[in-house]
Subunit: 251 residues, 2 copies
DNA sequence: TCGTTCGCATTGACTGGACAATGCGTCGTG
DNA sequence: CACGACGCATTGTCCAGTCAATGCGAACGA
């Protein structure tokens, strides 16, 4: 059965017989080795592909996938440096040293999708400004990040210009009188839409994290919704938490 | 081609022609409708299954998958009640009212896997206690959560007993003199291993979040590593963040 | 009326083929 | 030596069929 072939190959990948980047036997070789039809071999290989373990490089053969995750730290927006030694070590361990970053920023005025509008407390028809950003690393797309702002508060501000804002869009918002003091993060885990798979060049078997961050001012007004799509094989999402002495425990 | 069939069905799911829980046309119906071989239809349906959009309920047919995510809030361990009104609203929106929870706890002494041992600063061969917990909701497995503790600090404590600790394992740790003041969270997004897929009854096309939380005492000693496996179709992971007035912005 | 058995529609697994698409290397040519 | 054309190995797509597994409902029997 195809499960035997699949499990045998998976075992070889797990125990290192087939190391990262190595080529698997060809379909023809497996067909001969196990004496089955080609469809059976293809089903076995297909499942490994969907598990994200191997990648077909047509027409060169199947290869064991490599994984080099980079740290994605939502808290970095407002706290550049980690405050604990553990996080420091963790970030440097997964650093992008030697890889060449690139990004493209694009600004538009849109009527946001229903879920975005709801988080920004916008009525149907109200407009928002969106800064769309795509990031590359070594020429490969890494993640996309769209930040939405209510149009009436950022109109004519620096945020509408598609250049990199070195001091940060959040700082510009603060200068406009909308300093964020709180944020709510949501993380959804799912398979990518076909559109996302195209833009991020995702192979099958690569899930994504869909990260939505809503930032609030001191008077509880939402002024920013940042939506990120993070391919699972290229990211580790990380948070650091700290609390004061009298803690109320709960399992 | 199979892509046309796949895209047509996906469109019908997206625009509501096929609503959540509805049955898709059978393979035979699609074969006739598009005048193609059955393998072609199966490939189209297979891709939709791998995207997590439809579920095959053999032998009744294919059905549109339903998604009812529940909030997973890592911060709840140390802060039972959300501190912002937004989080309050968000949690109640995705509440589990009317669904029946159940859990099973199991305690063991193990030599932890290398990645766990590293986070706990254990030498190879040193032992750890692990509290393994599986949670169900309405009789369906929901998530698994394994908490590791260095054996030498929890030996003979309440943590070694496989009962529910109402005041929380963290509180017990604190009573033993190991109060946690900091934690580092890591989130990996990937497809489940075959073992995870079995234990959590995951269909194909369901990715998981792999959540690792390491808790530290005031003198930076790691005393607890909690590993959770969260099926993507049943969870939203959520954090709330707050910061003090002088913020250092960074885009 | 209730319980059991059986048929049937449907998907799962598989065969053994065919032709198309594609990247790479080789060979030949200018 | 450089460049282009070609062949080839390999995967992608597809066909037409067979047999097995399975859950549901209908028919049947007590």
């Amino acid at each position: 059965m195809y499960q035997q072939i699949r499990d045998a190959l998976r075992q070889q990948i797990a125990d290192g017989t087939l190391s990262a980047g190595a080529q698997l036997p060809t379909e023809a070789a497996l067909t001969a080795q196990y004496d089955v039809g080609r469809a059976t071999v293809r089903q076995a290989l297909g499942e490994l592909v969907n598990e994200g373990l191997v990648v077909p490089m047509r027409p060169r053969g199947y290869f064991v996938k490599e994984r080099r995750p980079m740290v994605f730290r939502p808290q970095a927006e407002f706290r550049k440096r980690p405050y604990s030694a553990e996080m420091d070590a963790f970030v440097t361990e997964h650093s992008a040293d030697g890889r060449e970053p690139r990004q493209l920023i694009e600004v538009a005025i849109v009527e946001p999708a229903a879920d975005i509008a709801k988080r920004l407390h916008l009525e149907p028809g109200e407009l928002a400004a969106v800064r769309r950003r795509i990031r590359w690393l070594d020429g490969e797309p890494f993640n996309v990040n769209d930040s939405y702002f209510p149009l009436d508060i950022v109109r004519d501000s620096e945020i509408m210009r598609p250049e990199d804002i070195t001091r940060g869009a959040n700082e510009v918002l603060a200068e406009l009188g909308y300093r964020q003091v709180r944020a709510l993060d949501e993380l959804y885990v799912r398979m990518p839409t076909p559109d996302e798979a195209n833009r991020l060049e995702l192979g099958p078997g690569t899930p994504v994290a869909y990260h939505v961050c809503t930032g609030y001012t001191a008077d509880a007004r939402p002024v920013r919704v940042a939506v990120s799509v993070l391919p699972g094989d290229r990211h580790v999402i990380s948070y650091e938490r700290q609390w004061e002495q009298p803690q109320d425990g709960a399992e």
